[in-house]
């Protein structure tokens, strides 16, 4: 039988060097007894000094072992050595979550990490009134030996204040520059009550909703073992006791009639959602109306209606299909990828942007969800027809000389019947006494073309169409 001695319960370096020699010597796990003996440790650690041939272990094992050693379970050291021993012949053991030793180690590590998390959560600092600088102290009993491991967290968080954490295992202190670890103390050394705790208890009592009483859930997350150090815990029994009564009283109480004054104010505030009160007389009325429009169902899943934008008396109007993701979010037309391609082509065609007006045949974004993405969906005929109310209003108020229809949906919205793009591209057509029409591609069609040569050709044709439109409108020479 071999006895391996560690300097402290959490002496990982000591465990590591002892385990290393033991395995190198081929000492089987069941032949080792692990003990912690602080006093005796002054002696030379028997085998550590001797050179032992190195061997490698998976990196994940070291991380796991560092956690497990903090567990209070007496068999943790033997378990770790057993896993180390087995790793020699089963190097993939570490990756097998179903192995009983691995399961036990993982459970121990999990308990440690939970204890560390709860320590971060349930420490309650108390201000030390007699201290010269702003200083705080807390008394705590961690479920496992995590005090030293957790201390750096508090140093990162409470960097610019002096604090001490006292536990039965160890104490740590921070002086705004470095951490100092010292021996554990007993509960008698706990700091005395802090006046702020009264306010904290007030908050704790008020944030509780008695109609949702669920003490089991509370105890699961905040086990009773921590209660004695929580100033708010003293309130719990009374809160639970009176909850039912408080909730029942609320349910049973008679709803109150609101005062006349309030009703009148509410009426005044209530917004009028009717959008067809009058035929819009200004473009700003179209913009407001589009947002309230319920002519089809598209408003429901869209963010907002996106009205047209541009120069007040622009001679040249562009009609696209519908807003896309970016347009829907921002409320402005032609700002997404297709909009950027349109702007580029417009500049190449020499058409001044400030003499144009851009809008869409359909004012709300039609889409379907694919995972968390919103994918464009072509509006159907009914939706295009419903939305003509707004497109017609925009044409009537703007009085453009030329209307360019970008794609089939735009053509349907302007002309009112299906018009194939390829066959009609670039041919001016008469829309009314004063308006000429021109159909061309939709910029997103150009973006989608996979073949680079075809894409370049279509783009050139698109630019040419824009230039022709500019000439017809008299803004390109």
């Amino acid at each position: 039988m071999r006895v391996a001695r560690l300097a402290s319960e959490i002496d990982f370096a000591g465990w590591r060097s002892a385990a290393r020699s033991l395995r190198a010597e081929g000492v089987e796990p069941r032949a080792v007894v692990w003990t912690v003996e602080r006093e005796l440790f002054d002696q030379e650690p028997a085998d550590a000094a001797r050179q032992t041939p190195g061997f490698t272990v998976p990196a994940a094992f070291v991380g796991l072992a560092e956690q497990v050693i903090l567990n209070r379970a007496p068999d943790r050291l033997a378990l770790l050595y057993r896993i180390l021993w087995r790793l020699e012949h089963e190097p993939r053991l570490i990756d097998n979550p179903a192995d009983p030793d691995m399961t036990r180690a993982r459970d121990m590590a999990k308990a440690v990490s939970r204890a560390a998390h709860k320590m971060k959560a349930f420490i309650r600092f108390r201000r030390l009134e007699d201290a010269k600088t702003e200083s705080y102290a807390a008394w705590f009993q961690p479920a496992h030996r995590v005090t030293e491991a957790v201390a750096p967290f508090f140093a990162r968080r409470f960097t610019n204040m002096d604090w001490t954490i006292l536990t039965p295992d160890a104490c740590v202190a921070w002086d705004r520059e470095r951490l100092t670890v010292s021996e554990g103390v007993d509960p008698a050394d706990a700091p005395s009550e802090d006046a702020q705790e009264d306010l904290w208890r007030t908050y704790y009592a008020s944030i509780f909703n008695p109609a949702r009483l669920n003490p089991k859930q509370m105890r699961q997350e905040m086990p009773k073992r921590y209660w004695r150090n929580l100033p708010e815990a003293a309130l719990i029994p009374h809160m639970i006791e009176t909850a039912q009564e408080r909730a029942s009283a609320m349910v049973a109480s008679t709803p109150r009639q609101p005062s006349e004054r309030v009703l009148k104010a509410a009426l005044r505030h209530a917004r009028d959602a009717s959008y067809e009160g009058a035929i819009p007389k200004r473009l700003s009325e179209v913009a407001a109306g589009v947002n309230l429009c319920r002519r089809c169902e598209l408003w429901r899943d869209a963010t907002q209606g996106v009205p047209g934008e541009g120069a007040e008396h622009a001679p040249l109007m562009f009609v696209g299909e519908q807003p896309g993701d970016q347009e829907d979010l921002s409320g402005h037309p032609f700002v997404g990828p297709a909009g950027r391609m349109f702007d580029k082509a417009l500049a190449e065609a020499g058409v001044p942007r400030d003499r144009t007006f851009v809008t869409n045949a359909v004012k709300h974004f039609k889409h379907e969800l694919r995972g968390k993405r919103r994918l464009h969906k072509t509006p159907d005929r009914g939706e295009v027809m419903s939305c003509r109310w707004w497109l017609d209003a925009e044409r009537r108020l703007l009085r453009p000389r030329v209307v360019v229809m970008l794609g089939a949906t735009a053509a349907l919205g302007v002309i009112g019947e299906p018009t194939p793009i390829a066959a009609n591209r670039g041919k001016p057509l008469r829309l009314s006494d004063r308006e000429q029409g021109l159909v061309t591609y939709h910029p997103s069609f150009l973006l989608r073309l996979p073949d680079e040569t075809k894409k370049a050709q279509a783009y050139a044709a698109f630019v040419a169409d824009l230039r022709q439109a500019g000439r017809l409108a008299g803004i390109v020479t």
Partner: protein, 406 residues
């Protein structure tokens, strides 16, 4: 009006804030106070510093700046027509209270909301002043969540994003028409537009912030839907959530069972909160976010979730033809659909099956809930045989006692 002391104000303004389910403090980028002038850190995972007897996590100082409000939302305790006692904090009071609680390790940070006083802009400006003072005057690096006032100007909401880790706007009512009936001053389009703007701003700041390696803007937004105050069915609620996740990339949608309030409105009398329904909605929400389910697969619009079994089991019972699946050969997507297997358990199964044939005991060790999973799985030592086709299968999963509802 008598001057209220701080303790009384705190009681009123935290009581008024408790109907907001969100108390999450995770998702901020890692930062701490090393090298700073003040205190505070966020290290990714949020911390619950206490639990109230309702089982809810207390992570943040969740308060209203004021519960005076010019609106009259029927479901809200703070509506203008309510008899609830009123109070208002000063900016300094909120800042001092936050720091004082934080230093004692009671909280992760501040969650500030407010009733709307005077105008949306005025209210938003006051809230931004609190966050700005914490960040700039005190170099506070803890967590800040600000509620946005949808009617406030885009400039002010953008400022809120500068100082907050997360912002949120509560939609509250899943159906736009019920919003109109129960919250006449609120406009669903205002809310959606504000969320849209916020998503664009968050997207725009994400890349520069990654490069700079520090926070420059809020990392995410969330919202809350009240369950049971209007006629919306579970399918409608989930469709709304799916839409919100897709359109605005919300980090979370919170569901809050409509809860009795002390001074209820005639339009919406108090009732006991539908807690089980809320629980099922959270389960369904998780299926959409982490298990690859779409809303129509879980439940159609106009329909309600089965309260008797969880939505994943319910789906499996409706698709028995796809079971049982063999733990050794099924792909990840299918394993995620097996009742009783969580996402972590599935990862462990995938790792373990590379080395060994898995038994029921193995599955139990990696975290499977065998009671539910057994009927749908084939392992090295188990096959459910005709179990999966039995009429009475569902009865095996129905617990005779449900969650205690009250």
């Amino acid at each position: 009006m008598a001057v209220l002391d701080l303790r009384r104000k705190l009681a009123i303004l935290s009581d008024a804030a408790k109907y907001d389910a969100s108390c999450a403090s995770s998702g901020a980028e890692k930062r701490n106070s090393i090298g700073g002038r003040g205190i505070g850190s966020t290290e990714g995972m949020g911390i619950c510093h206490a639990y109230a007897p309702d089982g809810r996590c207390i992570s943040l100082l969740k308060i209203l700046l004021t519960n005076f409000c010019i609106y009259d939302c029927a479901y809200c305790i703070n509506r203008v027509s309510s008899n609830t006692p009123r109070a208002r904090f000063s900016v300094k009071e909120v800042v001092d209270l936050t720091l004082s609680f934080y230093k004692r390790n009671y909280i992760e940070g501040l969650f500030l909301s407010s009733g709307v006083i005077r105008t949306g802009d005025y209210t938003m400006e006051e809230m931004v002043r609190v966050a700005k003072a914490l960040r700039l005057d005190h170099d506070f690096r803890g967590y800040i969540h600000l509620k946005l006032i949808p009617e406030a100007s885009p400039e002010l909401t953008a400022q809120a994003g500068l100082y907050a880790d997360r912002v949120s706007i509560n939609i509250e009512l899943p159906r736009d028409d019920s919003l109109k009936a129960l919250a006449p001053e609120k406009d669903p389009t205002d809310i959606k537009r504000a969320m849209g703007r916020m998503r664009l701003a968050i997207d725009e700041h994400a890349e520069p912030a990654r490069k700079a390696g520090r926070r420059t803007f809020a990392r995410g937004q969330s919202t809350q839907l009240i369950v049971g105050a209007d006629s919306a069915r579970d399918g409608d609620i989930l469709a709304r959530s799916a839409n919100l996740y897709g359109a605005y990339r919300l980090g979370r949608v919170f569901y809050s069972a409509f809860s009795p309030i002390p001074d209820s409105s005639q339009r919406l009398p108090s009732m006991r909160p539908p807690l089980l329904r809320e629980h099922r909605l959270y389960q369904a929400d998780w299926l959409m976010r982490f298990y690859g389910f779409t809303q129509p697969e879980i439940i159609a619009e106009g329909e309600d979730l089965d309260l008797a079994v969880d939505p994943k089991t319910s789906w499996a019972l409706r698709h028995r033809g796809r079971f049982p699946v063999d733990v050794h050969t099924a792909d990840k997507e299918m394993l995620l659909r097996v009742p009783g297997l969580g996402a972590k358990t599935v990862e462990r199964i995938l790792a373990a099956r590379r080395m060994t044939r898995l038994t029921l005991d193995d599955l139990k060790r990696v975290g499977a809930v065998l009671k539910r999973a057994k009927a749908f799985l084939i392992t090295a030592d188990w096959t459910p045989g005709a179990l999966v086709d039995q009429e009475s299968l569902k009865a095996r999963f129905v617990q005779p006692r449900q969650l205690s509802l009250f």
